[in-house]
Symmetry: C2
Subunit: 321 residues, 2 copies
Amino acid sequence: MAKDSAVLKSLRDQKGQFVSGEEISKKLKVSRSAVWKEIQVLKNLGYEIGAGPHLGYRLLGIPDRMLPDELSAGIKTKFIGRQIISYEETRSTNDAVFHLGEEGLKEGVCVFAEHQTQGRGRLGRAWVSPKYKNILFSVLLRPDLSPAGVSKVTLMAAVSVVKTLRLLTGRRFHIKWPNDVLFHEKKLCGILTEMSSEPDRVNFIVVGIGINVNADPGELVKGATSLKEITGTWQSRIEISQTLLETFESDYLQLKKGEFEALAKKWEEFSSTSGKRVTATVLGRKIHGTAVGIDKEGALWIRTDSGLQEKILAGDVQHEK
Amino acid sequence: MAKDSAVLKSLRDQKGQFVSGEEISKKLKVSRSAVWKEIQVLKNLGYEIGAGPHLGYRLLGIPDRMLPDELSAGIKTKFIGRQIISYEETRSTNDAVFHLGEEGLKEGVCVFAEHQTQGRGRLGRAWVSPKYKNILFSVLLRPDLSPAGVSKVTLMAAVSVVKTLRLLTGRRFHIKWPNDVLFHEKKLCGILTEMSSEPDRVNFIVVGIGINVNADPGELVKGATSLKEITGTWQSRIEISQTLLETFESDYLQLKKGEFEALAKKWEEFSSTSGKRVTATVLGRKIHGTAVGIDKEGALWIRTDSGLQEKILAGDVQHEK
């Protein structure tokens, strides 16, 4: 998709007021026909651009598309999402970022997609999302962690998502261990963390986040919900993405400083798992009990019905009714 | 490089005796000129093929190259190295196999190379090896392990290498924790394990093994040695590779059955670290003490000078003089 457009920036700077083609062409030192061509490109991307004789052009509306220009406009991050690639369609944003990691790109680069042909969730499950409706992106990280420490990043990402969604919608979203974001037990967001590593050293991590934003109930899988369904109105995917990237960066910097405990506390606050009756499935074995909470490594502790405490590092947890 | 050649197989079946071009052409149902062309291809690959009037062709010698045909000939494995790709030159065999892993190939596929342009060792260090002299290969594995369990595979690989080299040369090679193979404290072999994983599930593992075989002292980095230097004679890279793949498979099957303890015992037997005065460097911190041994997770335990026992999962260990 388009890289940052100087013409778009000129229009944006006018905040909806007219600017003449001549003025833009002088400012950017390009011909008036080059300006006209770029205006057509922007219109094709879905930008609403008004034109009046002797008045010039003005920006009336931006497209509901995850364009790098829109995602970058006004974002306050230092390194997360300062470099963005957007695809109409890709196999999976995690795969795309994984390849960028192998090519040695710096941490913070993000890949957004309108559609994934092989979207994945945890444990190899499919992640399905209708085109142009939801947020699908992945980010490259290069933290100084051992592979065992990587689950902290996953828990952190869930905290960042809940903070963002609570802030923007005022609704009470919860986290189901380890990293599903729920609203009244219906799934709104999934997070898939993958890494390339040696046994004792992480090369890089890819965090993929999928949030159901404007999907209609008929477009969602069973047990899922969307922000539109919850709030009753269309939501700006751009605004949510920008706030999320900013929150994510600030939480990630906290994690990098070694302050995971503050994040773990937030996680506990947002958790709908702690204190609940749960069934955990670990390598085919089912464990029934009450979730006690997470420890400083991000493991879930369960007090089983036989009175033992069990530590769950992997697997699935179901909340009992 | 060439895939399995039917003409080569016909020559090999004669065990050095002549076979006529006509006989080969009848057996393989191809023209005599096709047989002649294939003979030229084999000669170009370095095969020594004798030809006599009215006698036909016979195989006199195979090239000192890591060709899939040679590596596969007579190998007794079930899945390790049943599919082999050989490169004259590649960036790194680990990178090549990593990509095969991402493409979903089955475990056991191997990539060999005569030369790596960006060969790597542990912790991002360079691995340098002169062309056509040593063994450089990587293998794809898909064990049912958590990321924390992957160091077991690394330790196992070191055991497989030492078993193979002791068997073929009768010399006493040792392992320095976690996975360097030494001869009288000089490095002969390095192992680099890398993985693609979720925090709680391994997607796949790549084990890369580099063995200095016929490199001359002048071609080796400081502190390294080769089998040729140790034994005084040229060694067959093909024979070593085949024995190693067979040993590796049998050890890996043992690991998969959950019998790591037997491998750990072998590791202890081969270890030159256990019982030695060592300096471990962990995240920049130096720990001085006596290596006690490895535990069932593959961690090295050190009794420090202050009397504490420390568990080393990552980092570097130097044997003190």
